[in-house]
């Protein structure tokens, strides 16, 4: 355990992040990059971008609360130190996505009301399931919920958004690239640290599987809310973009139904693989209405 945890030290984090892929960035992107005029000048596009970004802020606020809350429950110093780096990563994500809301025209005075207005209630419930475990000081369930389920979800959503924005909005795509690199590290810690703890505490498996099932239910409900309904249909026919290909789907031309399907299938596939690695059996949730 000690050798693998050495890869998650503050020193390693310093070399990888501030002195690595975040060097010379401002709020996660290059200093001269801006939101494209096609978003800023069109009320519908701007509102859609705000709605998407609010979802990211809500998810990252949950991750910040969970990672900081788990530090005091961690059973060893190396895990505490890793979670400290994750706390800072999540705070940075909150900051860069909040900054994007400001860049999209949300004012500081209206920030919380904007978040309340656009936050998906199923995403809020998803967060509450996790934060209940954290508040109870349940390190094992907390790390599975945070570093495998929540981070696994974030990882795939960010990857999809990054692929879809690479040509259309390089500023947002660059912001997402840095967060994806962070999420990859967080998922790696979850998989590596939890496997041995699950083996030591097999009695916790059933409870953790129930938590995963509940979180997955709310996640699929968020996807359904996000891709169905007239608000989510494209306002104009998009131009096909080769670089927007993600898991066999061209995101620049895919219908909302196709996007929901590719995202859900990708996330669920990743969940199954990652949970199996730590000795947890994926539980299929009932289908959201």
């Amino acid at each position: 355990m000690t050798q693998f945890l050495a890869q998650y030290s503050i020193q390693r984090w310093m070399e990888m992040c501030p002195q690595g892929y975040l060097e010379d960035t401002v709020y996660g992107h290059e200093p001269n990059e801006h939101e494209p005029a096609v978003i800023l000048d069109d009320d519908d596009e701007r509102e859609a971008a705000i709605r998407t970004t609010v979802g990211l802020v809500v998810g990252e606020r949950c991750a910040l609360a969970a990672s900081s809350g788990l530090i005091n429950a961690a059973p060893d110093y190396p895990s505490k130190r890793f979670l400290a780096t994750q706390t800072l990563d999540e705070a940075r994500h909150v900051e860069v996505f909040t900054q994007r809301l400001f860049d999209l025209g949300v004012t500081a005075d209206n920030l919380e009301s904007t978040i309340d207005r656009y936050a998906n209630p199923n995403l809020v419930k998803f967060a509450e399931v996790l934060l209940e475990k954290v508040a109870a000081g349940d390190f094992l369930a907390g790390v599975v919920g945070q570093n495998i389920v929540l981070e696994g979800l974030a990882f795939s959503v960010f990857e999809m958004l990054e692929a879809g924005n690479r040509e259309f909005n390089p500023k947002f795509a660059h912001t997402l690239s840095g967060t994806i690199a962070d999420e990859r590290r967080h998922v790696g810690f979850g998989e590596n640290r939890i496997g041995s703890l699950i083996a030591q505490h097999p009695e916790k498996k059933a409870e953790i599987e129930r938590m995963q099932q509940e979180m997955t239910y709310y996640m699929l409900a968020v996807f359904a809310d996000s891709f169905r309904g007239d608000d989510n249909k494209p306002k104009s026919a998009p131009e096909p973009t080769a670089s927007a290909e993600w898991h066999g789907t061209n995101l620049s031309t895919a219908s909302p139904e196709e996007m929901e399907a590719v995202l859900a299938n990708t996330v669920l596939g990743e969940f199954k693989t990652r949970l199996a690695r730590v000795g947890i059996e994926y539980q299929t949730p009932r289908v959201p209405a």
Binding site: S9, I10, Q11, W13, M14, P18, Q19, L22, D24, V26, Y27, P31, L64, A65, S68, G69, I71, N72, Y77, K80, R81, L83, A84, T85, T87, L88, E90, A91, R92, V94, E95, T98, A108, L111
Partner: protein, 259 residues
């Protein structure tokens, strides 16, 4: 880009100042200056000097107790992320969590360099009771959800103690320990600044909080004195310097009107 070098944040309006100095971006630009190319807080060009057995023993005890203090600050700051009343304070506390974890890591690393095979066990063996009590008192305030009192105990009392002791120690330390302490001291200054600023504003808005914090301070005083005495004896501070350090600590308390 270096925010620190290019402009003075104190020239900003109050809310803009808070947005700036409590941000991840500001932290990022700040630490870049003094932590780049210093693995485990140590310049690669700094050469370790031989330390005799008695001095090495004292240094190990000192570093074990610094680790207790940093663990208290790490766990305290992690709890304070949850309690923070606004976005800026939450993000600042998250940067402090990473700072405290780094301090713990560099002290553990230095202990290993000094030949301590199991630093965690050694810390438990050498921890000063007064410091362990202080840690318990701080974490109780955090568990009670008392933001103001916990910020006072952590970012004013604990950080001022650490800042004071580390500075004195750095002046007389071996070259490698001095390098390590230099980076830690820069962080502690930022943390203490946050504490004074946050409490200063909340006490100006509601002066009745002073009486409550005075009471908390009275409860912590015996532990603080115990921690100071043991720490200054371990680092071999002369008696004259000890009273000067006590004054520095009391000055901070006085600035907040808590004497």
């Amino acid at each position: 880009m270096s925010v620190v070098d290019e402009f003075d944040p104190h020239a900003l309006a109050e809310q803009d100042f808070l947005d700036e100095v409590h941000s991840f971006q500001f932290w990022f630009d700040s630490v870049e200056g003094y932590l780049s190319d210093r693995p485990y807080g140590r310049l690669e060009t700094t050469v370790d000097e031989p330390i005799d057995d008695a001095r090495r023993e004292r240094l190990i005890t000192t570093l074990c107790n610094y680790s207790v203090g940093e663990t208290a600050a790490l766990e305290g700051a992690a709890g304070l992320v949850q309690l923070a009343p606004d976005r800026n304070s939450k993000i600042f506390m998250a940067t402090q969590v990473a700072d405290e974890a780094r301090h713990l890591e560099v002290f553990l690393h230095r202990l290993r360099e000094l030949g301590v095979a199991d630093p965690e066990a050694e810390i438990e063996r050498r921890a000063q009771p007064a410091l362990v009590d202080f840690k318990g008192a701080l974490l109780d305030l955090v568990a009670e959800g008392d933001w103001q009192a916990a910020v006072f105990a952590q970012n004013v009392v604990l950080e001022t103690m650490e800042y004071t002791v580390f500075r004195l120690h750095a002046a007389n330390a071996d070259p490698v320990t001095r390098d390590v302490l230099a980076g830690v001291i820069s962080d502690e200054r930022r943390h203490a600044g946050f504490g004074e600023n946050d409490l200063g504003r909340s006490l100006a808005a509601d002066p009745s909080g002073r009486a409550r914090l005075r009471e908390i301070r009275t409860g912590l005083d015996a532990m603080v004195v115990g921690v100071f005495e043991a720490a200054l004896a371990d680092i071999g501070a002369p008696a004259g310097e000890r009273s000067q350090l006590a004054h520095e600590y009391l000055d901070t308390i006085e600035r907040l009107g808590l004497t």
